[in-house]
Subunit: 416 residues, 2 copies
C-alpha cells in the first residue's frame, strides 16, 4: 500500500513537478477541481495588467493591430492545435463552447443535407448544454432532424446507422469520467456514412487527443478547464483542412468575412478556419488564454497523460483501500484507456461529504445525486495532494464529520 | 468664432468635467475614437487584479457563486437597462453583438412565422456584420426570408410594407453618424405589422435611447464603445417584458435553462431575459464592463447628450470655418436630432490625413473611401480637445503634411 512517503518520492521524481511553480495556488488548498476551472497561471496577473493598462489604456484603438488583438483567435488556435492533434490553421479560440457547437452542428447537417439522414446520435448523459444546442438547432431548422440519445456508451455502435447524419459526443463524460474511443467510434460512424463532432471540454489538455489520427470531422472545447485559460475564457473550434472548403455556418459575422475591413454589404466567407469566426471577441479574457497554453509548451501531452493516470490510479487505489463502511464507490472506469483525468466517487451523502472536504480545503465538486468529482491536473497536482485528500476524506468519514441536513449546495456545484 | 479660451471656459463650466479623472488617458493624446473603443476607466486595473488574483487565483471555483460570476450577465444588464430606457430584468450582458443579433432576429422571425411576411428591411449602409448575420440566418432557415436593403434612410418608410416581417436597423450609422428616429420608424413598422430590431452599438451610452418610449421590439448593442467596457467586452441584448414569454431563440444553452444545475437532458427555457443567454461567459472581460457602467451612475444620459451635441456642434463649426482649399466636407447630418456622437468628415486624401493626425496624437479613424471619423465622448473629451484637434488638422492641411503614397492603412481602421 502506498504511503505518504512513497507519494513524496513520486513527486521528487516527477518530471512535471517544476511546472507547479507556474501557477498561483492558495497555501494549504488541495485543488482537485481543475477539470471545472483550471488554476491561475502566475503569468496571468502581469499579462492582464499589460492588456488593460498598456494595450487598452495607453495604446487604445491602435492595439487591434499593434498588439495583435484582431489576430488572437487564430494565433491562439495555432498554439492550441498541436495539443489536440490538429495542425496550424485549423483551430480558432473564440466564442463559447455552446456557440461553437452550434456552428459545427449546423455545418455538419448542411454537409448531410442532400442525404435522407435525419438522426443526431448522442448520449443522454452528455453535457446538457450540448443537447440543448442540438435541440434548439433541430427545432429551428424544422427539417425532421431528431436527437437519438443512448443510455450507455455500449449502445452507441448499434444506434449509429443509415439514418445517422451526425454523431455528437463529449469525449470524456463530465460526470462519470468515461473516455470514448474516438478513433473506433469515428471509424464506425464513417462506415455508416455519418459525421462526428467531438466536444473536448473534459479531454483537451488532460490527455493525448489526436483528432487527425482519429479522422474526426469537427471538434469544439473549452479553454478554462485543463488549459487554465481563466474563468469562462473563449472556447475553441476545430475544422480540419479537408472540411474547410465545404464548411459553412449561419453565425458567420464580419470576423468570418474574406475582407472584413472592406465593409461590403454582402457576405463572402474567408479562407480556412477564419470562416468559423463570428463577431468581435472579448480581448482581455482571450489574451489570458495564452498564459495557460504557454505552460503546455514546456512539456508534452504524453507526459501529462502519464502523470494524470498515475495520479488517478493512486487515488483509485487509496479509495479502494478505504473500509467498506465508508460507503465509497469509484464510479469512473478503472481501465486507463476508458477514463479521462477526473475520478467520480459515489457516496450516499456525497453532497454533504464534499461540503466537509471543501471546508477542510480539499476542493472537488459534486454532481447530483451522489457523485463527488475529483480532478487531477498534472501540471499542478502532486502525488502527496492525492494522498492528503484521501486522508482527509477518511477522517471525515471516520468521524461522520459532515452535516447532511445542510440545505445549501456547495458552491462548486455551480460549474461544468 | 470660438477661440481656444472660449473652449477652456466651456470646460471650466462643464458639469461632466470631473468625470475625465475616472479614466486613464495617455498624456498628450487627444482621443476621438471612443465611438470605436472606449477609454479605460481608472478602476479597471484594480478590478481586473481582483478578478484574476483574488477571485480566480485564490477563491478558484468558489467564485462562480461567491463572487457572483454566474449572476453577472443579468446583474450588469440591470445596471445598463436605465441607460437605454429599459427596465430591470430586460437586459443581459453576454456574447457578442453579432451572436445576440442572431438570437433576436431568429426570435422575431418566429413571432412572424404564422404570417406570410418574408422581408427583413435594413440599410445597405448598415454595419456589415448585421447584414451578414441576417444573410446567414435566412439562408440557414431557408424559408423564403430575404433582405431588402435601402440606399438611404429616406427610403425606409416606403420599403416597410405588408411583406415586412422585421425592420432591422442600427440606430446611429457607424460611418455617417446618421441617427434614425426610432419612435417614428417603430410606429410606422408596427402600423405595417412589422417588428423592429435596433442595434444600439453607436448610440447606447452616447445619447438618450428610450426603447420603451419608442415601443421598440428588440435591441442589441455593444459595451466597448461609449460604455467603456474594454476591448471586445461582451455585448448586450434587450427583450422587453411584453415579448419575453414568446421569446424563443435557437442558441439557448444551459445558461438559458430554467434549472441549469439540474443537468436535465431536455431544455426548458428559464424566465425572463435569462432565456436570451447561451453558454459560459468570459468572466474577466465581463467583470470589466461594470467599471464603465459605474461611471454612468454619476451622471445621466440627458447631460451626456447635451455635452455630446455641444462638442460636435463646436467641431462642425470649426470644420466649416476651415478654408475651402482644405477640402473638408462634413458628412454627418447637421441637425442635432439626426446625428449621434461622432462626426465624419470627407476628404479626398482622408486616409493619409488621418494617418498624419494619429502621428500627431489626434486619434480618430478612417472609413474608405474618404471618411475621417471623429468621436466625441462626453465623459472624457474636453472642448479644448476639439479645438486642438481641428487646429492640428488645419496645420496638417496647410502644410500638406501627409503622405498619400503611404500604402499601409492606419491601424485604427481595424475597428468597428
Amino acid at each position: 500500500m502506498m504511503t505518504r512517503e512513497d507519494c513524496a518520492a513520486l513527486d521528487a521524481a516527477d518530471p512535471l513537478a517544476s511546472l507547479r511553480a507556474r501557477f498561483d495556488l492558495p497555501d494549504g488548498v488541495i485543488y482537485l477541481d481543475g477539470n471545472s476551472l483550471g488554476a491561475c497561471p502566475r503569468a496571468a496577473l502581469e499579462r492582464v495588467r499589460q492588456v488593460v493598462a498598456d494595450e487598452w489604456g495607453f495604446d487604445l484603438i491602435r492595439s487591434w493591430n499593434q498588439a495583435g488583438w484582431f489576430q488572437m483567435p487564430l494565433r491562439l488556435g495555432d498554439m492550441l492545435a498541436p495539443l489536440i492533434g490538429a495542425v496550424a490553421g485549423e483551430v480558432a479560440v473564440t466564442d463559447s463552447t455552446s456557440v461553437n457547437l452550434f456552428k459545427v452542428l449546423a455545418a455538419a447537417l448542411q454537409m448531410q443535407a442532400t442525404t435522407a439522414r435525419r438522426t443526431i446520435v448522442s448520449e443522454r448523459a452528455n453535457f446538457p448544454s450540448d443537447l440543448y444546442i442540438a435541440e434548439g438547432l433541430t427545432a429551428w431548422l424544422d427539417r425532421g432532424y431528431r436527437l437519438r440519445l443512448v443510455d450507455s456508451p455500449e449502445e452507441l455502435p448499434a444506434a449509429i446507422d443509415a439514418d445517422t447524419a451526425v454523431v455528437m459526443l463529449t469525449h470524456v463524460n463530465y460526470r462519470s469520467g468515461y473516455l470514448h474511443d474516438m478513433a473506433a467510434l469515428t471509424a464506425h460512424a464513417h462506415a455508416q456514412g455519418a459525421l462526428t463532432i467531438w466536444d473536448l471540454a473534459h479531454s483537451a489538455g488532460a490527455l493525448e487527443v489526436d483528432l487527425h489520427a482519429a479522422k474526426a470531422d469537427f471538434a469544439v472545447g473549452c479553454t478554462y478547464k485543463y488549459f487554465n485559460g481563466g474563468p469562462g475564457a473563449p472556447a475553441f473550434i476545430w475544422v480540419p483542412q479537408r472540411h474547410q472548403h465545404a464548411f459553412s455556418q449561419p453565425l458567420a459575422g464580419w470576423w468570418a468575412h474574406a475582407a472584413p475591413f472592406a465593409m461590403a454589404p454582402g457576405f463572402t466567407a474567408g479562407d480556412g478556419i477564419r470562416r468559423a469566426l463570428c463577431g468581435t471577441q472579448p480581448v482581455v479574457s482571450l489574451a489570458l488564454v495564452e498564459c495557460g497554453l504557454t505552460i503546455f509548451g514546456e512539456t508534452d501531452m504524453r507526459r501529462i497523460r502519464h502523470k494524470s493516470l498515475a495520479l488517478s490510479d493512486l487515488f483509485i487505489q487509496l479509495i479502494d483501500a478505504c473500509p467498506a463502511q465508508h460507503g465509497l464507490t469509484v464510479a469512473t472506469p478503472r481501465q486507463a484507456e476508458r477514463r479521462g483525468s477526473h475520478v467520480s466517487v459515489a457516496h450516499a451523502d456525497g453532497q454533504a461529504v464534499m461540503r466537509a472536504l471543501i471546508a477542510r480545503n480539499v476542493i472537488g465538486d459534486f454532481r447530483a445525486p451522489q457523485l463527488m468529482r475529483f480532478g487531477f491536473t498534472p501540471l499542478y497536482t502532486r502525488f502527496v495532494d492525492v494522498w492528503d485528500a484521501v486522508d482527509i476524506l477518511k477522517n471525515i468519514l471516520d468521524d461522520a464529520a459532515y452535516d447532511v441536513d445542510h440545505g445549501v449546495p456547495p458552491s462548486s456545484t455551480e460549474v461544468t
